[in-house]
């Protein structure tokens, strides 16, 4: 068990070594990256927006109901919602959701390429298959996921405002005062740094799971489940480490 994990870990790093070698034809890599920006980035905006809106709303409501104490000024609800969204929700929770969506997508795509011998076909031509398939995905998510995080922060805060004021737990001026009160810009940086790490974890772990598939469609399905599970676990693990490193 431990041995399997360690040898898998070694194989993962070796694959990364292959991925980050010099591209043969930069033009083609550029074109692939553009494609991946659309399929991994643009196509994730919808789900990120919807989820962030509702989570922002729920966070605001819960903060409100947990601080029904006359000593606390109401605008603190806005502040609390803002910080939860920026610090944890828009980076970590969104990353977990993307691990489900993007991760399984990547693993099944690459796994299918493996079992249908498309990867062998690339290797046979003399193409570095790992780099050709995986590098554009990594680059695309590193570029695009920070935007997803920003989108998530904005829609989350808007969702909190809309639902909070509609439900009557906070007035609009109080919420707006709250989200500006004692704002620490570094939190955004912190959130974006985490996003970069998480994006890297999602794409590389899922790609690895797809790349090493052996067998048929059943194994591809398993690889895609594993991709989600492992990416999520590593995201949570790295989240703890990064939080300690960046906020202490």
């Amino acid at each position: 068990m431990t041995f399997r994990f360690l040898s898998g870990f070694g194989a993962y790093w070796m694959l990364l070594g292959k991925v980050f070698s010099r591209p043969e034809k930069p033009v083609i890599y550029y074109r692939q990256t553009m494609k991946e920006l659309v399929s991994l980035g643009l196509r994730s905006i919808g789900i990120v927006t919807i989820i962030s809106f509702f989570m922002g709303a729920v966070i605001t409501l819960q903060t409100a109901y947990n601080t029904e104490n006359p000593i606390y000024p109401t605008y603190l609800i806005g502040l609390g919602a803002r910080d939860s969204i920026i610090l944890e929700f828009s980076s970590t929770i969104v990353a977990l959701i993307l691990a489900g969506k993007v991760g399984s997508n990547i693993a099944s795509e690459i796994g299918t390429m493996r079992v249908t011998e498309q990867i062998d076909a690339l290797e046979l031509m003399g193409v570095n298959s790992a780099s050709y398939i995986i590098l554009p995905k990594v680059v695309a998510t590193l570029i695009f996921n920070p935007f997803l995080t920003l989108i998530s922060i904005i829609t989350g805060i808007v969702g909190g405002w809309l639902v909070g004021t509609t439900a009557g737990v906070i007035t609009s001026p109080e919420y707006i005062y709250g989200i500006q009160y004692a704002f620490i810009p570094y939190y955004i940086t912190y959130s974006l740094i985490k996003t970069l790490f998480f994006a890297f974890i999602i794409t590389t772990v899922s790609s690895y799971q797809g790349y090493i598939v052996e067998g048929g469609s059943l194994e591809v399905g398993r690889a895609s489940t594993k991709a989600v599970v492992y990416s999520s676990v590593f995201i949570l693990l790295v989240n703890v480490i990064l939080t300690q490193l960046l906020l202490s």
Partner: protein
């Protein structure tokens, strides 16, 4: 010319290839025959380097291929074309993009030149007006032909075909056999074809190697195959009724 010397390969703890040696000459269609599971695909994948061999040597001309690293192999790889058992077309690319892929990757041709070469190759395998289709929109036989077009796009010196006519009707299968034979002669390629189809053996068998349980049991050409006294080969060749009748009447 490709020469393999005493190669051995184990997979999953089982010896799949045992001490196989053979010489494959250019301009000829070399056939590897054997029943399902005998090790044909593994043999071919060893020759092209998709599997690393455990023992023995593989020579391309006078280059010892199996000792080369990934980068050194690349030069020889560019001269290889391969048709995989399941076609292995890139399913996110159209027919045209599939055939153009090796040209995009390894040539400095401009778009018009590439397109011309793509259309030439597609026409060579009798595929027309399908440039914009995706592999999922093609029939099995068309996929194989597009895969052949992709394999010959760079005018390879070595062509490898893994069961080019499995799952095809007899007529399409003959068309593909002829195609492979013609292209081989045209470009003076060294062609190695895996098959268990006796039709193509009798059609294309200029040089035949028979593999059973990972061992080479017999070597010869199509004229010798019917007279062979190798028992395992006879069992394989005369497995179908028609062939048996032929043998009876030849006596």
């Amino acid at each position: 010319m490709i020469r393999v010397e005493n190669i051995g390969k184990s997979l999953g703890g089982r010896e799949v290839l045992k001490d196989v040696s053979a010489v494959f000459e250019p301009g000829k269609t070399n056939l590897i025959i054997g029943k399902s599971g005998s090790g044909k695909t593994v043999f071919l994948k060893c020759i092209v380097g998709l599997f690393e061999i455990d023992s023995g040597a593989i020579w391309y001309g006078d280059v010892l291929f199996n000792e080369l690293n990934f980068h050194a192999r690349k030069e020889i790889r560019k001269e290889m074309g391969m048709l995989f058992q399941g076609s292995a077309l890139f399913d996110s690319m159209t027919v045209e993009e599939n055939v153009r892929f090796p040209l995009d990757m390894f040539t400095t041709m401009n778009y018009e030149e590439k397109l011309e070469r793509v259309n030439f190759c597609l026409k060579r395998v009798n595929i027309t007006d399908s440039n914009r289709l995706l592999p999922s929109e093609l029939s099995g036989g068309m996929k194989k032909r597009v895969a052949i077009a992709r394999a010959i796009a760079l005018k390879p010196r070595y062509l490898f075909c893994d069961e080019p006519n499995s799952g095809l009707d007899p007529k399409t299968s003959i068309v593909i056999d002829e195609l492979i034979r013609e292209i081989t002669a045209e470009l003076n390629m060294t062609t190695i074809v895996n098959t268990h189809d006796m039709n193509s053996v009798m059609e294309n068998g200029e040089k035949i190697i028979f593999i059973e349980e990972g061992e080479k049991c017999w070597e010869g050409n199509k004229n010798q195959i019917l007279q062979s006294d190798c028992k395992l080969l006879n069992e394989f060749v005369f497995a179908n009724a028609l062939a048996k009748q032929l043998k009876e009447s030849a006596r």
